[in-house]
């Protein structure tokens, strides 16, 4: 749409631009600054070009953390998206239960993230936690503080519990907007429920699902609070995801150069995947 030009609108944007500049651009530039310089203390910096980037990209520790991160994101996407769609399909579209269901679904999303981590931390404790103790009573050898497998299972369970609701709510919105006539036509055509799902519901949810997947990818790839509170990256470094590793490097070891370089690589990965997604989504819109 080509509206009539009104230059005064630009003035309204200035406060936002200033805020974004202060909160995002300047720190980002600082990080870029650190990533291409080296310091030995005393606030003296030497240009080091791409040294840090080379080091980081060759570092086994980085590879490990990146690998774990990718495994984490892949797993939760594979679980949360189908699960979310399935739950959305069972939710009622009309009637008094709609609000109840929506509220129930929204509840996990409202809990502060560190509280989520703390909740699961305590609940999964093998000796006194409700979940941990019950599992051990049932004969399952479960201890997330000592066993990497238990730690991973707990981590993934926590994320699924926390974030599936988002996929549910988005899918539900997509499902509810499908006109009734499509279902009526499918009934008349004799289509079974699987066919109805495959040929009507899923295609009509495409746009909404793309957004859901994009959001879940970005959030899970950058996740920090919950795993940090739950396992702190342990046992050992078995659940040290990329963000946790980064914080350890930057604040723990105070290696600003490598940390800054890792941050930028991290940022670029997220940017790249999001851009690919966005382009695919836009191309789908046009066709």
């Amino acid at each position: 749409m080509n509206k009539t030009i009104n230059n005064r609108a630009w003035f309204l944007v200035i406060p936002v631009v200033a805020l974004v500049a202060f909160n995002a651009l300047i720190p980002l530039m600082t990080v870029v600054n650190y990533s291409v310089q080296e310091t030995f203390g005393n606030n003296e910096f030497f240009w080091s070009g791409v040294t840090w980037f080379e080091q980081v990209l060759r570092d086994d520790r980085f590879h490990g953390a990146l690998g774990r991160q990718l495994f984490f994101t892949g797993t939760i996407l594979l679980i949360e998206v189908p699960l979310g769609i399935a739950i959305a399909l069972t939710m009622p579209k009309k009637g008094p239960w709609v609000s109840v269901c929506l509220v129930l679904m929204a509840l996990p999303l409202l809990i502060p993230w560190n509280v989520v981590g703390a909740m699961w931390n305590i609940m999964a404790l093998p000796d006194i936690g409700l979940l941990g103790h019950t599992l051990n009573e049932l004969g399952i050898d479960y201890n997330y503080t000592r066993q990497p497998v238990s730690a991973w299972v707990t981590l993934i369970a926590m994320d699924v519990w926390h974030w599936t609701s988002l996929v549910v709510l988005l899918s539900y919105a997509g499902l509810v907007s499908i006109p009734e006539a499509y279902f009526q036509a499918a009934k008349i055509d004799g289509a079974k429920s699987w066919a109805v799902f495959r040929y009507i519901q899923l295609p009509k949810m495409k746009r909404v699902l793309t957004i859901a997947i994009l959001l879940r990818f970005m959030d899970s790839f950058m996740i920090y609070t919950e795993p940090s509170v739950l396992t702190g990256g342990g046992p050992g470094n078995s659940t040290t995801l990329l963000s946790i590793d980064l914080v350890k490097t930057a604040l723990g070891q105070f290696d600003l150069g490598p940390a800054a370089a890792t941050s930028l690589v991290y940022f670029l990965i997220v940017l790249l995947v999001s851009w690919v997604f966005y382009t695919l989504m836009m191309r789908n819109e046009e066709s």
Binding site: P179, A181, Q184, A185, K187, I188, G190, A191, P203
Partner: protein, 359 residues
């Protein structure tokens, strides 16, 4: 294919319907002969879509039953009734090609692929979709998609009934003619019972051999387009069908003759009996003409509709419209009107007046 009978059908969407207004369909008894082209015509909210959905099985009626032939199908689901329905806006399966869309109902019934291929080719040829069979259904225009909906409805060889729910709503006006003729042609070639639901009289009257006119949940008249036009049994039908609708004027009986504006008017159904109830005269604008004597009237406006003109007149405080062909003269302001006696009728309380028993 079978005769469809609606027996004592009534339906309400409310749990407890006390007032008459809450019944969407009041008491309908209808028989649709096998292989006919029917229209269900009425204004918005008259219950025609409810009736359609009852017939297709999407709505279970509160009372009454439906029979296909001798079989009671009231409890059956849509796919068990073997019917087809084309909706107001095109319903196509976006991810499939046109071919797959049309084949879908057949595949769901487990038909062999070779048989499906023959059948789809046949129907595609009928609906002029043959060049587009390989294309993705989502890429077609609105009328193309409606044709796919139509094809999907016709492709099953044993379909009992095809129903159209205002199918031309989203079609471009200059394409409506084409699709309308296509639907009629299809009926003449395929021969399945077809019911067309609409509020548009042109669509109903051109498609159907028999039209059922509904208003407020009840059937008002059933007849051929000509019967409905020439002999409306209720002033509603007279008003609803025909553009402009029938002129309805208050009248009294004086000495056995109908009187309007103090002058006697010849009618096709004179009443010799009692004259109780609200009496009205109905005459279509097509059957009113100018004359040198008759009912005095003043011309208030002339609207040009191309091949004819609609003249609005005032006579004795009432509005009377008449149609004048292109090229015919229209007199000056004050003139006289004559009603064709063979096409002027007496109505009592809205219904066509008959001797003796009041309706």
């Amino acid at each position: 294919m079978a005769k469809v009978t609606l027996e004592n059908l009534a339906h309400t969407y409310f749990n407890r319907a006390d007032g008459a207004a809450e019944w969407a369909v009041k008491r309908v008894n209808l028989e649709w002969a096998d292989g006919g082209a029917f229209a269900l015509l009425g204004p918005s909210g008259c219950g025609k879509t409810t009736l359609l959905n009852i017939m297709s099985g999407l709505v279970h009626p509160t009372h009454g039953r439906i029979l296909f032939g001798e079989r009671d199908v009231t409890g059956l689901s849509p796919e068990e009734r073997n019917i087809a329905q084309v909706f107001q806006f095109p319903v196509v399966y976006d991810t499939m090609s046109v071919y797959d869309n049309i084949a879908f109902p057949l595949r769901n019934r487990g038909m062999a692929e070779s048989e499906i291929a023959t059948r789809v080719a046949e129907i595609a040829e009928l609906t002029e979709l043959t060049p587009m069979l390989k294309q993705r259904a989502a890429g077609l225009t609105a009328d193309g998609k409606q044709k796919i909906s139509l094809a999907r409805g016709l492709v099953r060889p044993d379909v009992n009934l095809v129903m159209f729910d205002e199918p031309l709503t989203v079609i471009d006006p200059h394409l409506k003619w084409v699709l309308r003729s296509k639907l009629r042609e299809l009926h003449q070639r395929v021969g399945t019972t077809m019911i067309y639901v609409t509020h548009d009289q042109t669509e109903a009257l051109t498609f159907a051999d028999q039209v059922v006119v509904m208003n407020a949940g009840e059937v008002v008249q059933i007849g051929t387009p000509v019967e409905l036009f020439e002999r409306p049994q209720h002033t509603f039908v007279g008003h609803f069908i025909g553009s402009p609708g029938m002129n309805v004027l208050p009248t009294e009986i004086d000495n056995g003759k109908a009187v309007f504006a103090g002058l006697p008017v010849e009618v096709a159904n004179p009443l010799s009996g009692s004259a109780d109830g609200k009496l009205e005269l109905g005459v279509r604008p097509e059957f009113v003409s100018f004359g040198t004597d008759g009912i005095p009237a003043t011309i208030t406006s002339v609207a040009d509709a191309g091949r004819y003109r609609i003249v609005d007149t005032q006579a004795s405080g009432h509005r009377i419209k008449l149609l004048v062909d292109e090229g015919e003269a229209i007199p000056a302001q004050d003139t006289y009107l004559r009603f064709d006696p063979g096409q002027t009728r007496l109505y009592r309380d809205g219904w066509l007046a008959t001797e003796g028993v009041a309706r």
